[in-house]
């Protein structure tokens, strides 16, 4: 009761602060900028906020907050465009949306998918804000109740979603997740600094692979290449079916799913250290489990869009709790946000425990600015979705070069290395083969995303638990099996049992035909060989760095067993068995007029060109050649499109103050930006 006595006046102060026209003006400005940045995959809130930072110094706090929050809030909304329309996961928040959103776009229902997604986002954002208004006053002890064992269990719950997404052959799904986990361990270990599958001679590998690159490589590249080979529009027959009103109706029909997923989003969001990586998978899993007819998932089930999209905006609200109450950023953009808040006004607002005591009105302003930004952003997005959905009716050959351009630029932004492009290509190749042989790509990505948290929480929880056990058996047990952990274990077990039962009906890759043994066998052997290499490599880590080798050895060992069983089955079963799924046997890919390698060669050419003359010059050549030769466009069309592409790149990079990948030419002579740069 006492809490409410302090909350109510603060709440009305907050409303007075944010309902000024000028504040709303700044909010809308921030939202528009956020939308512009957010539609570019891989840039997201960090790039946008860095852009705003120079203006924050001494700015009126409420205005600065409105601008920044407007920007941060809409990034998870606007990156839905890329994930639904092009199958490109823009950020970790939109990975699960790709699974059903993109198939909907292929069916010509992009507008429906988009508006359902945006309505869910809006609702999720509002639920998040309402929940936080109450919860933020009592949040501290609850956040503190989530120790390392609890976080480990939530991570494992996220991993258990692999059971649902494993595909027709569960062993393949498991092995894919294992491979993802192993690829996630590449680089310098967090705990002891040992190198796994990396060497100091290739500094790029010591930092490990970035999520943006793996997400783009696993989901975007295989889809782009496949569509380009078929030489058609994304929407089959280039027809748009259901419109944006249908999406809103879909949301109304599934409002309770949206409520539940929003609550999942807020709750997981408030736990510091987990952030967005698991939320959308847990929400997707929940959507699958609560849908009676699961046969449409992966092929364009609207509930598969509504679930994750409701959770990912709610998560942003939840993520404010650790940020504001503890001063611990829940994500990269939140970290910049904290830094920027210190620059505002006279620097009196200090994010951290004092926030609730001294600045409760500001705290509430932040929560509700977030909600308002969601409303504004969603309305703008829904208004635009009908028009933007028309992109899916354009002949894909005209879109593809721009997508190659965008994903290369996005990949480069993650590490500012030329190697980023190589990594994108290699992971893209893995993605292409996973897709071709019907190994679950979502399972791979879940494995990769959760690799670091699994390893970190396991090691740390183990260390602290063994310390407690030294104090006494009871103290140890009490630490590991807290009530929260027990509840999470039950949820995990239930979801795995359900998941395994349902997995066979959920075919993320559609119905894949099977054919001869040779190609699928070679791919399985290649994965097995990599796992063996990784195991040998992990085993070479000296024993005093046990923490760095335990997880790779355990996960690698389990995955290897899966692969070996799989290989044994492959030898025994006849050709044409489901285990030999191969997209090149029959279906869209097999009937495509263009071959895989000749299509991929275009992308290789862009990368190779970049290595020699730098990105912009290579892009120039790539676009001209592609439009002339592959798309058979007229010279005038070619030149207009090329000019449009190059100027878009330069404009974006110029505003955001970003460089382009340099080549040999740039290291030999200094050239002016945009051709040169660093």
């Amino acid at each position: 009761m006492e809490a409410f006595a302090t909350a109510l006046p603060a709440l009305s102060d907050a409303w007075a602060l944010i309902s000024q026209p000028i504040v709303l003006g700044y909010l809308v400005l921030g939202v528009v900028m956020g939308l512009a940045v957010g539609v570019f995959p891989g840039l997201g809130g960090i790039a946008g906020l860095s852009l705003l930072l120079p203006f924050m110094f001494g700015m009126d706090p409420v205005l600065g907050l409105a601008l920044m929050i407007g920007m941060v809030a809409v990034v998870p909304t606007s990156d839905t465009f890329a994930s639904v329309l092009m199958g490109i996961p823009g950020s970790s928040a939109s990975q699960a949306t790709v699974l059903d959103g993109f198939p909907l776009a292929k069916k010509g229902e992009a507008a429906r998918a988009l508006s359902a997604a945006f309505t869910s986002s809006l609702f999720g954002g509002l639920v998040g804000a309402a929940f936080l208004t109450m919860f933020i006053l009592v949040a501290r002890p609850i956040v503190l109740a989530f120790g390392l064992p609890e976080m480990l269990m939530i991570t494992i719950l996220g991993l258990s979603m692999v059971a649902i997404l494993a595909g027709r052959i569960p062993l393949k799904g498991l092995a894919a997740a294992g491979l993802g986990l192993m690829i996630g361990t590449i680089g310098e270990a967090d705990a002891g600094g040992s190198l796994r599958m990396a060497t100091y001679d290739i500094p790029y590998l010591t930092d490990g692979l970035k999520l943006v690159i793996v997400g783009l490589g696993i989901f975007a590249i295989p889809e782009i290449v496949s569509l380009l080979r078929q030489d058609r529009a994304i929407a089959k027959g280039a027809n748009l079916g259901a419109g944006w009103m249908d999406g809103v109706k879909d949301w109304v029909a599934n409002k309770w799913l949206s409520v539940r997923c929003s609550l999942i989003g807020v709750t997981v969001g408030i736990i510091p250290g987990l952030g967005g990586s698991v939320v959308d998978w847990i929400a997707y899993g929940h959507a699958v489990q609560t849908t009676p007819d699961k046969s449409h998932f992966g092929k364009g089930e609207i509930r598969g869009v509504i679930g994750p999209e409701s959770s990912n905006n709610a998560k942003e609200g939840g993520g404010l709790v650790p940020t504001l109450l503890f001063g611990i950023p829940g994500s990269g953009s939140m970290a910049i946000f904290i830094g920027a808040v210190a620059l505002l006004g006279s620097g009196d607002i200090e994010v951290g425990p004092a926030m609730l005591k001294d600045n409760l009105d500001i705290t509430y302003s932040i929560v509700w600015l977030l909600a308002l930004a969601n409303v504004v952003g969603t309305l703008l997005c829904i208004a635009a979705s009908g028009g933007i959905a028309k992109l899916t009716t354009i002949r894909f050959t005209y879109l593809a070069p721009f997508l190659f351009m965008l994903i290369s630029f996005a990949a480069f932004q993650s590490g500012q290395n030329f190697e980023d492009l190589l990594a994108l290509f290699v992971i893209g190749l893995i993605g292409i083969f996973l897709r071709r042989f019907d190994w679950s790509r979502p399972a791979f990505l879940i494995g990769f995303v959760l690799s670091n948290p699994v390893e970190k929480f396991t090691n740390q929880a183990f260390q602290i638990a063994s310390f407690r056990f030294r104090k006494g058996f009871d103290a140890g047990i009490e630490y590991i099996f807290s009530p929260i952990v027990i509840v999470l274990i039950i949820i995990t077990v239930v979801s795995v049992v359900f998941g395994i039962r349902q997995a066979k009906t959920i075919m993320a890759e559609g119905d894949v035909q099977s054919g001869s043994k040779r190609a699928p066998m070679i791919f399985s052997l290649a994965i097995t060989a990599y796992l063996v290499m990784a195991l040998v490599n992990a085993n070479m880590i000296p024993d005093y760095n046990m923490t760095d080798k335990v997880i790779p050895l355990f996960v690698g060992g389990c995955s290897l067993v899966c692969c070996l069983i799989l290989l044994a089955q492959m030898m025994r079963r006849p050709e044409g068995d489901a285990i030999f799924a191969d997209k090149e046997i029959a279906g869209e890919d097999a009937d495509a007029p263009y071959g895989l390698w000749s299509t991929l060669a275009w992308f290789v050419a862009l990368i190779a060109g970049t290595a020699v003359v730098g990105f912009i010059l290579a892009l120039l050549g790539f676009l001209v050649a592609f439009f002339r030769i592959r798309a058979q466009a007229s010279w005038s069309k070619t030149l207009i499109l090329t000019a449009a592409g190059i100027s878009l790149m330069c404009f974006m990079a110029g505003i955001l103050n970003r460089d382009f990948p340099p080549g040999l030419l740039q290291s030999a002579i200094d050239l002016p930006w945009p051709i040169g740069g660093n």
Partner: protein, 362 residues
Amino acid sequence: MTISTFTRRAVAGMIASLGLALPAAAEVDFSGKTIEWVIPFSETGGSAKWANFFAPLLSEALPGEPTVVVKFMPGAGSTKGANWFQKEQHKDGTLLFGTSGSTQFPYLLSDPRVRYEYNDWNPVMASGTGGVAYLNAEDGAKFDGSANMLQDVDFIYGSQGATRLDLVPLLAWKMLGMNVEPVFGIKGRGDGRLMFERGEATIDYQTTSGYLSGSAAMVEEGKAVPMMTWGALDAGGNVVRDPTFPDIPTFKEVCDATDGCETSGEEWDAWKAFFVAGFPVQKLAFLPAGTPQDVIDTYTKAFEAVVARGDFADISSKRVGKYSVFTGAGAQTALGTATNVPDSAKAYAVDWLKEDYGVELK
């Protein structure tokens, strides 16, 4: 190393002579130019905060008021960015580079990935911070200004890694005879504080800004007991009480009061060397090798003007802490103290890291 240094110098010389052949500008003016301040960390770290604080002030103070943008080049714990900067040569004075303790430590420890040499660069500004160690309430009751009653307690500490800034607290606790078990792999000191607040860790340390914004409240509530600061340096290079925390004893005082802890000798020298590199001279701004003196002077003047602002003490204490900012010759001296560690101290630290944590630096 010597050959590459020679080539580098030769190239630098050639470039410099080319520069001389052109008519030299009367004075440095940056009107209409953009100055890039490269930070070898991600957008989210403390160095980003530091550069973002100084960038707009520097822009106002430089002649011609150029735009100062902060660029990030993260990778390999800042060695990637520093190795890159090593290859950069003076062009037109529009490149500035920022380093922190995480760049200094691998250099001091002769990390094999380090291909940079601090002495080639031109420091124009240096600033520092302090640090406070604290205990949980239960063990804090046993603290009486010395660590004598803490020597049979097992502590847990959330750590970012023994070769990072955490080297300073870990070595200090070891010298006090305390048994502190680090749990490695956390991402920032904020995570360490959270671990402490959850009761999973029982000892913690924060840099000044982290302590003031997060831990001071715990101390007020009686959930934490401050143990010691790392101290600050006076003009003579002696460790004295931290001006931000005049009431908390320094590690030096606690060490003096504790049985078996010495404030002289090889162990102490090693600790002090790494303390100086990690705290009082934590962050430095550099101009690249080969920068002509007039450009260095321009920057020095600009940073002096920033520090001389009437409101500087006020705005900086809230954003980067109440510590000295060194400019010009002061920055050069600061760099000297931060990067010149006696070989014996270096060897001691390397041996200790290997013995206690299995870290092999090769």
